[in-house]
């Protein structure tokens, strides 16, 4: 794959703290313009992975390349292409938003004549234009979070790493930040760590689930939905037959009883059993009242993988 289309390439990333392995053999790859959701329960190793990807923590093993630049061999060149918002935004409360963002672009080596534009653009994208002269310490938490994101994108990095950007915000702010992240994904590659599932479903192209330091699931959101929807149906019957009878219907693989009158049918995928099911239900008077494809949400996958 050409280095232009791949912004992040990490292989075999491992981090041990003494005898404890926090991150074990993690592979990550990100293409330009992609938003990757990085999911996992608290303590799964998400933050440690992000610290390694942004050069804040040296990995015990493995390699990281940002746009083809090796982060371990040429950290300064690689870091210039990364924007990072840690879990706690690194904000200097005593500076104004303008001063702070100007400092951030200076530190990221934006040439002098482009700095003013870069700061103005970042402020506009993050909705900070009106608060440029305010002290960061006096802003609300939502605005502070936006300043943190503005800091991460102001120097036009190829890769933006956001560690739980919506933690501690109210629902309206969460919605705004999500829209912003989605928008940023149009220009940059984004890695978004979170433990909020709906967040990933609504804004990410791809999802990786981490558990106890290992990647336990990795696929696109679209594939996840396509794979599970239509493969499982939920059936509601007033006078249900035996499970063996249901399993005998062509196209049905396994039958699982959910409660008194509900069944979850795994389908073989070879033929659609809807018609024969309805026909049998009518003929044998099963009292069919519910038949719907089961929506397998990310939550199901997540719970299954991490319990």
């Amino acid at each position: 794959m050409s280095p232009q289309s791949t912004t992040l390439h990490a292989r075999g990333l491992t981090r041990r703290f003494g005898a404890h392995t926090a991150v074990n053999n993690v592979d990550l790859e990100l293409k330009r313009g992609e938003v990757l959701g990085f999911l996992g329960p608290n303590g799964a190793g998400k933050t440690t992975t992000m610290q390694m990807l942004t050069g804040n923590l040296a990995p015990t093993g493995g390699e990281v390349a940002v746009c083809g630049v090796d982060l371990l061999a040429r950290p300064v060149d690689a870091k210039a292409r990364i924007g990072y918002l840690p879990e706690v935004p690194p904000l200097y409360r005593e500076l104004t938003v303008d001063e702070y963002l100007t400092l951030a672009v200076k530190l990221h080596r934006v040439p002098k004549r482009e700095r003013r534009d870069a700061v103005a653009r970042a402020k506009k994208r993050c909705g900070l234009t009106d608060v440029g002269r305010k002290l960061i310490g006096n802003l609300s938490k939502g605005y502070q979070q936006r300043v943190g994101i503005a800091q991460a994108i102001a120097h036009e990095p190829d890769l933006v790493v956001l560690d739980e950007p919506t933690v501690g915000l109210d629902p309206n702010q969460i919605r705004e930040i999500r829209a912003l992240v989605r928008e940023i994904g149009g220009w940059h590659s984004v890695i978004l760590s979170t433990h909020i599932l709906s967040e990933v479903e609504s804004i990410c192209d791809r999802v990786q689930i981490m558990h106890h330091g290992n990647i336990v699931y990795s696929d696109t959101i679209a594939a996840l939905k396509a794979f599970h929807s239509g493969r499982t149906v939920v059936l509601g019957l007033r006078r249900p037959p035996s499970e063996a009878e249901l399993a005998a219907v062509p196209g049905v693989n396994t039958v699982e009883r959910v409660d008194e009158s509900h069944y979850r049918l795994q389908l073989t995928g070879e033929c659609d059993p809807t018609e024969p099911l309805v026909a049998r239900a009518v003929r044998d008077n099963w009292g069919l009242f519910h038949l719907a494809p089961a929506q397998t949400s990310l939550e199901d996958v997540f719970v299954n993988l991490t319990k």
Partner: protein
């Protein structure tokens, strides 16, 4: 890039009450010491005239003033130094610098320089006092310059050590106290240690102990004497602690 960090440190410093408090206190203390000394000098001046080669105002008033300023710096630098790394780590703002395309050396030198600019301002304010006498008496500018240089080197040593202790902990007050204790220990012990080592006949180690004796290195310059060995020791002290700080921060990245 180093100057960007230094400017940021200076700006943050002046945005906090600490900087203004320190400046005020330094002015009050050194101002009092200066006026008291000047008063004493005016009283004994008639007797001084009778001496064959009487000491001038620079020797009798300005030298002690710089000794007082050195004392005040001993208290001020740990407090100012604790902000540089310990407080940044406590507030978790250090990440902005460590994820920017900067080397650890640039970060450390930038922070050191920021603190040094502030300490230079203190030295400049102290120097303004003797300069106010320039219109009414003749000053020994050579001695004044060497006092200035000596005080700056002393401040650099204090600053470098405070910066290093600041990198050891994420607790600012612990960092300040640690740096203060280390400075006092260094002042108390270095001379005795040097003598002890020399008494055993180890001449090179005895000479090296002087690196950790900032006051001893200040003495020659305080008398208007440019002793290159003392100068080299002062510079070495600063470098030792800056290198230690860089190593300490790198180790944090490696070990987590």
């Amino acid at each position: 890039m180093i100057f960007t960090i230094a400017a940021k440190e200076l700006k943050s410093l002046f945005a906090s009450p600490l900087a203004w408090m320190v400046l005020t206190a330094v002015q009050l203390i050194t101002g009092y010491a200066f006026l008291k000394r000047l008063d004493d000098f005016l009283q004994i001046q008639p007797q001084l005239v009778q001496l064959a080669s009487p000491p001038g105002v620079t020797e009798l008033v300005v030298s002690p003033l710089y000794a007082t300023a050195a004392m005040v710096l001993l208290f001020a630098s740990p407090l100012l130094g604790m902000r540089l790394i310990a407080e940044e780590r406590r507030n978790q703002t250090m990440v902005l610098l460590t994820s920017a395309p900067l080397s650890m050396t640039q970060i450390v030198i930038g922070k050191f320089l920021g603190l040094m600019l502030f300490l230079t301002l203190i030295v400049a304010l102290v120097t303004a006092m003797p300069l106010s006498l320039a219109g009414s008496t003749s000053l020994d500018y050579g001695l004044l310059a060497s006092l200035c240089a000596g005080l700056l080197l002393l401040a650099a040593g204090f600053a470098a050590l405070s910066l290093y202790v600041s990198s050891l902990t994420a607790h600012p007050v612990a960092a300040a106290f640690g740096a203060f204790a280390a400075l006092i220990l260094m002042l108390l012990m270095s001379e005795a240690a040097g003598d002890g080592v020399r008494a055993r006949g180890w001449h090179l180690p005895a000479a090296l102990v002087q690196v950790f004796s900032p006051l001893k290195n200040f003495e020659p310059l305080g008398k208007g004497l440019v002793d290159t060995y003392a100068l080299a020791c002062s510079v070495l002290l600063v470098m030792v602690f800056l290198v230690l700080t860089v190593r300490r921060l790198d180790a944090r990245r490696l070990r987590g």
